[in-house]
């Protein structure tokens, strides 16, 4: 079990709604950004002198820019429906981690400066000046939100705390109070092309290594091309896929699927990152700048299609925003969705009967599936609403013999965030990450006890990294989290594969 200098939540058999413990997470806040990380994004390096005035101005600007922000700040009736829905509240018991508690941190400032009632009767409606104390609360608690949107599912008006967290971070960045983790990473994308700062030669090296591994394993020359002009498909995948476990096993899987599909594809060193941290900090401009790299790469390489790898928030930006930010995509092949998710791609091939699987290759695992928050509640796959739930499950069922879902209240659009999304996947936020994972890990633990589940599959780089790190705090193993395309990779029978599974294949055909 990993060591913690805080109390790791106890996993229960039945979920419990905790009593509130005000202020218990007030100490949790991420490292502040510095001049060198702020400047490339166009933000001041330290707290500006007239920060209060600047912040209110910025809030006014955002209220005019985003209808959602104003409607959400006006509409809350404090009914309480959201209060027990946030994984960070359930894991920490801090009422400022209830979605409405978090929203109120901004709402009280909004009311003070932008509403009649708050201007003249602040006490009555809970309006407050934007003081340094409030700013500190903002920095702390708006970095305890993973922008997973679970609250918005249960709100009678669809109030989405993610929108409010994003606006708060944008306002704070503009007065020089940025978060180091997100802003340093966005800078790396501008400079090098991906979040991890892996330069082209390093990527090439890694990909060559993968080709060798797959060849040794299967005897088939599966290619993992980089910057190949004229390829049909541009694959955009989170940079963690290049080296982290279990992410890289997913990348191996994508390559095998493309190989079997017989399509040419390539990665890009210029756009070697699917994730778009511009969304986390609520900056349309930075989000757009990151997204435009994909457009530039697609034009330069002359591809016809864009496919995204397994990455949750990335898929939100790709599915919901890419057309807005970096479109129109009139130069791509209009017969395919733009962009397409790798799961949609693989699923189509399965439907057409073009992939052959040996499911027994995954028999050492009993699987469950973690719906990643932003895939579930902020995007879609396939033609029908809810395809984002059904398509990954269909892939798992096609490649594995043993699959059980977790409790209904914790999957599909009611899924719990892994606890590390939205710019929180940094070691300086370990406590909130571990505590925020509690509801998900509890549901996982229950299917482990009841159904003998051994592994949990996911399609998000953040989820995978988060669980790898966090599961050991709960006495579980870090390798219990796997990629969906890792399962595909294990079970896929490549054409011409030198099989030590020949016998099983015969048995399969007989069956």
């Amino acid at each position: 079990m990993a060591k913690a200098d805080f109390e790791v939540p106890v996993l229960k058999q039945y979920p419990e709604i905790p009593e509130i413990e005000p202020g218990v997470m007030a100490h949790s806040s991420p490292f502040k950004s510095k001049e060198e990380f702020q400047a490339p994004l166009g933000y001041p390096g330290t707290l500006v002198d007239d920060w209060q005035e600047k912040a209110i101005d910025k809030m006014g600007e955002l209220l005019g820019r985003y209808r959602g922000l104003r409607v959400y700040l006006d509409s809350c009736v404090k009914c309480g429906s959201c209060t027990d829905k946030c994984h960070y509240y359930l894991g920490t018991h801090d009422p400022k981690n209830m979605p409405v508690g978090r929203q109120d941190l901004m709402r009280k400032v909004y009311r003070r400066y932008f509403t009649l009632a708050g201007k003249y009767f602040p006490k009555l409606v809970g309006a407050e000046d934007f003081t340094e104390e409030v700013l500190n609360d903002w920095y702390s608690y708006f970095h305890q939100c993973s922008q997973c949107r679970r609250c918005s599912v249960f709100c009678p008006y669809g109030i989405d705390t993610a929108e409010i967290s994003m606006a708060a971070r944008e306002i704070m960045d503009h007065i020089g109070v940025g978060q180091k983790y997100c802003n340093e990473i966005i800078g790396k994308v501008y400079k090098i092309g991906n979040n991890l700062g892996l330069p082209g030669p390093a990527l090439e090296d890694t990909l060559e290594g993968l080709e060798e591994d797959v060849y040794d394993d299967t005897g088939v020359e599966v290619k993992y091309p980089l910057d190949q002009e004229g390829a049909e498909i541009l694959l955009i995948t989170p940079s963690a896929d290049f080296f982290a476990e279990p992410h890289v096993d997913g990348l191996i899987g994508y390559g095998k699927v493309f190989h079997e599909a017989g399509v040419s594809w390539t990665l890009s060193s210029h756009a070697s990152e699917a994730a778009n941290f511009g969304m986390f900090i609520g900056s349309y401009e930075n989000m757009r700048r990151v997204a435009l790299r994909i457009r530039e790469a697609a034009i330069k390489l002359g591809v016809k299609r864009i496919v995204f790898g397994e990455c949750g928030h990335a898929w939100r930006v790709a599915y919901s925003f890419l057309n807005t930010l970096a479109g129109p995509w009139d130069f791509l092949d209009q017969r395919y969705p733009i962009p397409q998710h790798i799961c949609e791609f693989t699923y189509d091939l399965i439907q057409q009967g073009k992939l052959r699987f040996d499911k027994s290759q995954n028999d050492d695992m009993v699987l469950t599936y973690h719906d990643s928050c932003n895939v579930s509640r902020a995007s879609r796959m396939g033609d029908r609403p809810g395809g984002q739930f059904d398509i990954p499950r269909a892939i798992i069922r096609a490649t594995c013999n043993n699959f059980y879902d977790m409790d209904e209240d914790t999957i599909r659009d009611r899924t719990f965030c892994c606890g590390g999304g939205g710019g929180l996947l940094t070691d300086d936020l370990m406590e909130i990450r571990v505590k925020g994972a509690q509801p998900r890990v509890e549901a996982l633990n229950n299917v482990m006890q009841e159904k003998g589940v051994t592994h949990m599959a996911a399609i998000c780089a953040i989820c995978k990294s988060q669980f790898t790190k966090v599961l050991p705090y709960y006495g579980m193993d870090m390798d219990q989290i796997v990629s969906v395309h890792q399962l595909v990779s294990n079970a896929l029978i490549l054409t011409g594969q030198n099989t030590d599974e020949d016998e099983e294949e015969v048995a399969d055909e007989a069956a």
Partner: protein, 244 residues
């Protein structure tokens, strides 16, 4: 007594003006602010008709609230549906002749009044009994509940305890249409009831009662899930594109 009638007449002119103008200003403000990104909470409808259906379910059945919390849903729905029936019943004071459906609804309006008060009491009780809800409750939340429940109770009291002369009440409001101030019965319950209703109308555009128009403008509920099929760009975002 005509002094009180005169005051009430002007109070209602003022209240009606604030309600209509304030709400209109707010709706215009919402409508003019762009929604630059597609952010429907998914799974979301992929067609306009689907969105209308989704919003109808939210307005009529409080679908999301039902999924969120059954207690709040029961009390909240009782209150709102009760208020809806009560409002229909009260239309008889404001239209002449009274339409057949409104005549038909009259007895149900009384049940509605009872349901409304019971629902409000349940919602108010939660503000004391549930620690999470207690934490998020501010003074204004209590006051709005007190206002609504007093309106409901004073109305029911006039039904069951001390009748007022409803014919003259109707004459009073009909008179307001043509700028004529008719005599209002000087019953304390009626005067209280009407004063609080006027107060409710006045605070409507400046309080959380804005959740009513808000729901229709909520991007997470009113957007069509079709970002890949149709490019969605807000005005200010398009200017960003042109500046490069």
């Amino acid at each position: 007594m005509s002094f009180i009638s005169t005051i009430y007449a002007y109070v209602f002119y003022f209240a009606a003006f604030v309600l209509v103008a304030g709400l209109a200003a707010k709706v215009v403000q919402y409508a003019r602010a762009p929604a630059p990104l597609k952010i429907p909470t998914t799974p979301a409808p992929t067609t306009r008709a689907g969105v209308v259906f989704r919003l109808t379910r939210e307005v009529v059945f409080f679908e999301s609230l039902f999924r969120g919390n059954k207690w709040i849903w029961i009390f909240g729905w009782m209150f709102h549906f009760g208020l809806f029936l009560v409002t229909l019943r009260h239309l008889r004071y404001f239209i002449e002749p009274v339409w057949a459906p409104i005549q038909f609804i009259q007895p149900f309006g009384i049940y509605g009044g009872i349901a409304m008060v019971v629902g409000l009491a349940g919602l108010w009780a939660r503000r004391f009994l549930v620690d999470r809800v207690r934490y998020i409750t501010s003074l204004s939340d209590h006051l709005i509940l007190a206002l609504l429940i007093t309106i409901g109770l004073s109305g029911l009291a006039m039904q069951f305890l001390a009748h007022t002369d409803v014919i003259r009440v109707k004459e009073f409001f009909q008179g307001l249409y043509v700028g004529q101030i008719m005599l209002l019965p000087a019953d304390p319950l009626l005067l209280l009831h009407l004063l609080l209703v006027a107060a409710l109308m006045i605070i409507f555009p400046y309080s959380k009662l804005l959740h009513m128009p808000g729901l229709f403008f909520s991007p997470s509920r009113n957007q069509v899930d079709n970002p890949r099929e149709r490019r969605h760009v807000a005005g200010w975002a398009r200017r960003l594109e042109q500046s490069q």
